[in-house]
Protein backbone atom coordinates (compact mmCIF):
# COMPACT_ATOMS: atom_id res chain seq x y z
CA UNK A 1 0.00 0.00 0.00
CA UNK A 2 0.86 3.65 -0.13
CA UNK A 3 1.44 3.92 3.59
CA UNK A 4 1.65 1.88 6.78
CA UNK A 5 -1.82 0.72 7.76
CA UNK A 6 -2.77 -0.23 11.32
CA UNK A 7 -5.98 -1.79 12.55
CA UNK A 8 -7.95 -1.31 14.65
CA UNK A 9 -7.58 2.40 15.09
CA UNK A 10 -9.04 2.13 18.56
CA UNK A 11 -9.57 -0.88 20.78
CA UNK A 12 -11.26 -0.97 24.17
CA UNK A 13 -10.99 -4.18 26.15
CA UNK A 14 -11.39 -5.44 29.67
CA UNK A 15 -8.59 -6.39 31.99
CA UNK A 16 -7.51 -9.96 31.43
CA UNK A 17 -8.64 -10.18 27.82
CA UNK A 18 -6.51 -11.04 24.77
CA UNK A 19 -5.97 -8.50 21.98
CA UNK A 20 -4.37 -8.49 18.56
CA UNK A 21 -3.16 -5.40 16.74
CA UNK A 22 -2.37 -5.57 13.04
CA UNK A 23 0.19 -3.72 10.93
CA UNK A 24 0.35 -3.73 7.13
CA UNK A 25 3.67 -2.14 6.09
CA UNK A 26 4.61 -0.39 2.89
CA UNK A 27 5.02 -2.87 0.05
CA UNK A 28 8.66 -3.84 -0.37
CA UNK A 29 9.74 -2.77 3.11
CA UNK A 30 11.58 -5.67 4.71
CA UNK A 31 12.04 -4.08 8.12
CA UNK A 32 9.11 -3.63 10.50
CA UNK A 33 9.06 -2.10 13.97
CA UNK A 34 6.58 -1.93 16.83
CA UNK A 35 6.65 0.91 19.31
CA UNK A 36 4.49 1.74 22.33
CA UNK A 37 3.63 5.33 23.16
CA UNK A 38 2.18 6.02 26.58
CA UNK A 39 0.34 9.26 27.27
CA UNK A 40 2.71 12.22 27.28
CA UNK A 41 5.73 10.14 26.32
CA UNK A 42 7.79 9.45 23.24
CA UNK A 43 7.53 6.11 21.43
CA UNK A 44 9.37 3.23 23.10
CA UNK A 45 10.79 0.39 21.04
CA UNK A 46 9.19 -3.03 21.41
CA UNK A 47 10.34 -5.33 18.61
CA UNK A 48 11.98 -5.27 15.19
CA UNK A 49 11.50 -7.71 12.31
CA UNK A 50 13.82 -8.21 9.37
CA UNK A 51 11.78 -10.28 6.98
CA UNK A 52 9.91 -12.98 8.86
CA UNK A 53 12.21 -13.17 11.86
CA UNK A 54 12.25 -11.07 14.99
CA UNK A 55 15.76 -9.65 14.85
CA UNK A 56 15.44 -7.77 18.13
CA UNK A 57 12.68 -8.25 20.71
CA UNK A 58 14.55 -6.66 23.60
CA UNK A 59 11.86 -4.01 24.09
CA UNK A 60 8.99 -6.39 24.82
CA UNK A 61 8.10 -5.70 28.47
CA UNK A 62 7.19 -9.26 29.47
CA UNK A 63 6.04 -12.60 28.11
CA UNK A 64 2.44 -11.40 27.74
CA UNK A 65 3.57 -9.56 24.62
CA UNK A 66 4.32 -11.43 21.42
CA UNK A 67 4.54 -10.45 17.74
CA UNK A 68 4.64 -12.39 14.50
CA UNK A 69 5.27 -11.68 10.85
CA UNK A 70 4.78 -15.08 9.20
CA UNK A 71 5.10 -14.08 5.55
CA UNK A 72 7.43 -11.12 5.90
CA UNK A 73 4.72 -8.56 5.31
CA UNK A 74 1.78 -8.10 7.70
CA UNK A 75 2.62 -8.26 11.39
CA UNK A 76 0.42 -8.88 14.40
CA UNK A 77 1.19 -7.74 17.93
CA UNK A 78 -0.48 -10.00 20.47
CA UNK A 79 -1.10 -9.10 24.10
CA UNK A 80 -2.33 -11.74 26.53
CA UNK A 81 -4.05 -11.14 29.87
CA UNK A 82 -4.17 -7.39 29.30
CA UNK A 83 -3.55 -5.06 32.22
CA UNK A 84 -4.59 -1.43 32.69
CA UNK A 85 -0.93 -0.44 32.35
CA UNK A 86 -0.95 -1.77 28.78
CA UNK A 87 -3.16 1.16 27.75
CA UNK A 88 -1.22 3.13 25.15
CA UNK A 89 -0.93 3.88 21.46
CA UNK A 90 0.87 1.09 19.64
CA UNK A 91 2.74 2.39 16.61
CA UNK A 92 4.05 0.36 13.72
CA UNK A 93 6.74 1.54 11.32
CA UNK A 94 8.49 0.06 8.31
CA UNK A 95 11.60 0.78 6.26
CA UNK A 96 13.39 -0.67 3.25
CA UNK A 97 15.87 -2.42 5.47
CA UNK A 98 17.15 -2.32 8.99
CA UNK A 99 20.65 -3.25 9.84
CA UNK A 100 23.54 -0.89 10.22
CA UNK A 101 22.36 1.75 7.81
CA UNK A 102 21.06 4.44 10.08
CA UNK A 103 19.94 6.47 7.11
CA UNK A 104 16.97 4.18 6.60
CA UNK A 105 13.94 6.31 7.28
CA UNK A 106 11.08 4.83 9.26
CA UNK A 107 7.58 5.45 7.95
CA UNK A 108 4.97 5.22 10.68
CA UNK A 109 1.34 4.23 10.72
CA UNK A 110 -1.33 6.16 12.62
CA UNK A 111 -1.22 3.71 15.50
CA UNK A 112 -3.74 1.64 17.41
CA UNK A 113 -4.99 3.15 20.64
CA UNK A 114 -5.54 0.42 23.21
CA UNK A 115 -7.61 1.13 26.30
CA UNK A 116 -7.79 -1.52 28.99
CA UNK A 117 -10.64 -0.97 31.46
Amino acid sequence: GAGVSQTPSNKVTEKGKYVELRCDPISGHTALYWYRQSLGQGPEFLIYFQGTGAADDSGLPNDRFFAVRPEGSVSTLKIQRTERGDSAVYLCASSYSGGASGANVLTFGAGSRLTVL
Partner: protein, 113 residues
Protein backbone atom coordinates in the same frame (compact mmCIF):
# COMPACT_ATOMS: atom_id res chain seq x y z
CA UNK B 1 22.83 3.41 26.73
CA UNK B 2 21.85 6.14 24.37
CA UNK B 3 19.39 8.67 25.74
CA UNK B 4 17.54 11.54 24.11
CA UNK B 5 16.40 14.51 26.19
CA UNK B 6 13.93 17.19 25.22
CA UNK B 7 13.86 19.70 28.06
CA UNK B 8 10.92 21.77 26.80
CA UNK B 9 7.59 19.98 27.39
CA UNK B 10 5.72 22.88 25.76
CA UNK B 11 6.59 25.77 23.48
CA UNK B 12 4.51 28.53 21.96
CA UNK B 13 5.14 30.74 18.94
CA UNK B 14 3.28 33.50 17.15
CA UNK B 15 2.29 32.78 13.58
CA UNK B 16 5.02 33.90 11.13
CA UNK B 17 7.64 34.03 13.90
CA UNK B 18 10.58 31.69 14.50
CA UNK B 19 10.86 29.07 17.23
CA UNK B 20 13.65 26.72 18.28
CA UNK B 21 13.08 23.34 19.90
CA UNK B 22 15.94 21.83 21.91
CA UNK B 23 17.26 18.29 21.99
CA UNK B 24 20.33 16.77 23.59
CA UNK B 25 21.50 13.18 23.43
CA UNK B 26 24.03 10.94 25.04
CA UNK B 27 26.06 8.40 23.11
CA UNK B 28 29.51 6.89 22.85
CA UNK B 29 29.06 6.13 19.15
CA UNK B 30 30.82 8.22 16.52
CA UNK B 31 28.53 7.39 13.61
CA UNK B 32 24.82 7.96 14.03
CA UNK B 33 21.77 9.72 12.67
CA UNK B 34 19.43 12.24 14.25
CA UNK B 35 15.85 12.95 13.31
CA UNK B 36 12.99 15.27 14.11
CA UNK B 37 9.50 13.83 13.77
CA UNK B 38 6.21 15.71 13.95
CA UNK B 39 3.12 14.06 15.45
CA UNK B 40 -0.18 15.90 14.85
CA UNK B 41 -3.41 14.85 16.60
CA UNK B 42 -3.88 12.22 13.89
CA UNK B 43 -1.06 10.34 15.72
CA UNK B 44 0.95 9.59 12.58
CA UNK B 45 4.63 10.39 13.01
CA UNK B 46 5.89 12.46 10.08
CA UNK B 47 9.59 12.91 9.34
CA UNK B 48 10.53 16.59 9.38
CA UNK B 49 14.30 16.51 8.93
CA UNK B 50 17.30 14.26 9.48
CA UNK B 51 21.02 14.78 10.04
CA UNK B 52 23.94 12.43 9.53
CA UNK B 53 26.50 12.84 12.30
CA UNK B 54 29.45 12.69 9.90
CA UNK B 55 28.17 15.75 8.02
CA UNK B 56 29.24 19.09 9.43
CA UNK B 57 26.70 21.04 7.40
CA UNK B 58 23.38 21.54 9.13
CA UNK B 59 20.39 19.98 7.36
CA UNK B 60 17.68 22.24 5.96
CA UNK B 61 14.22 21.45 4.61
CA UNK B 62 12.34 24.55 3.51
CA UNK B 63 11.28 26.38 6.72
CA UNK B 64 12.91 23.75 8.94
CA UNK B 65 16.58 23.70 9.81
CA UNK B 66 18.75 22.18 12.50
CA UNK B 67 21.66 23.37 14.59
CA UNK B 68 23.79 20.26 15.06
CA UNK B 69 26.58 20.60 17.63
CA UNK B 70 28.30 17.21 17.71
CA UNK B 71 30.75 17.97 20.49
CA UNK B 72 27.97 19.31 22.69
CA UNK B 73 25.63 16.47 21.61
CA UNK B 74 22.96 18.99 20.80
CA UNK B 75 20.46 18.89 17.94
CA UNK B 76 17.95 21.74 17.92
CA UNK B 77 15.18 22.34 15.39
CA UNK B 78 14.41 25.83 14.10
CA UNK B 79 11.06 26.51 12.48
CA UNK B 80 10.92 29.76 10.54
CA UNK B 81 7.78 31.60 9.45
CA UNK B 82 5.66 29.39 11.72
CA UNK B 83 2.30 28.34 10.37
CA UNK B 84 -0.84 27.16 12.12
CA UNK B 85 -0.29 23.72 10.59
CA UNK B 86 3.02 23.42 12.43
CA UNK B 87 1.18 22.93 15.71
CA UNK B 88 1.93 19.37 16.89
CA UNK B 89 4.12 17.26 19.13
CA UNK B 90 7.73 17.22 17.98
CA UNK B 91 10.03 14.33 18.80
CA UNK B 92 13.77 14.20 18.51
CA UNK B 93 15.15 10.74 17.71
CA UNK B 94 18.54 9.02 17.57
CA UNK B 95 19.67 6.00 15.60
CA UNK B 96 23.08 4.36 15.27
CA UNK B 97 24.07 0.80 14.40
CA UNK B 98 20.99 -0.62 16.07
CA UNK B 99 18.08 -0.54 13.63
CA UNK B 100 15.49 0.98 15.91
CA UNK B 101 15.23 4.63 16.93
CA UNK B 102 15.31 6.07 20.41
CA UNK B 103 12.97 9.00 20.99
CA UNK B 104 12.81 11.89 23.40
CA UNK B 105 9.71 12.68 25.44
CA UNK B 106 8.55 15.32 22.98
CA UNK B 107 7.75 19.04 22.87
CA UNK B 108 4.21 20.26 22.30
CA UNK B 109 4.28 23.27 19.95
CA UNK B 110 1.39 25.71 19.94
CA UNK B 111 1.11 28.30 17.16
CA UNK B 112 -0.88 31.41 18.00
CA UNK B 113 -2.69 33.29 15.21
Amino acid sequence: AQTVTQSQPEMSVQEAETVTLSCTYDTSESDYYLFWYKQPPSRQMILVIRQEAYKQQNATENRFSVNFQKAAKSFSLKISDSQLGDAAMYFCAYRSTLPHMRFGAGTRLTVKP
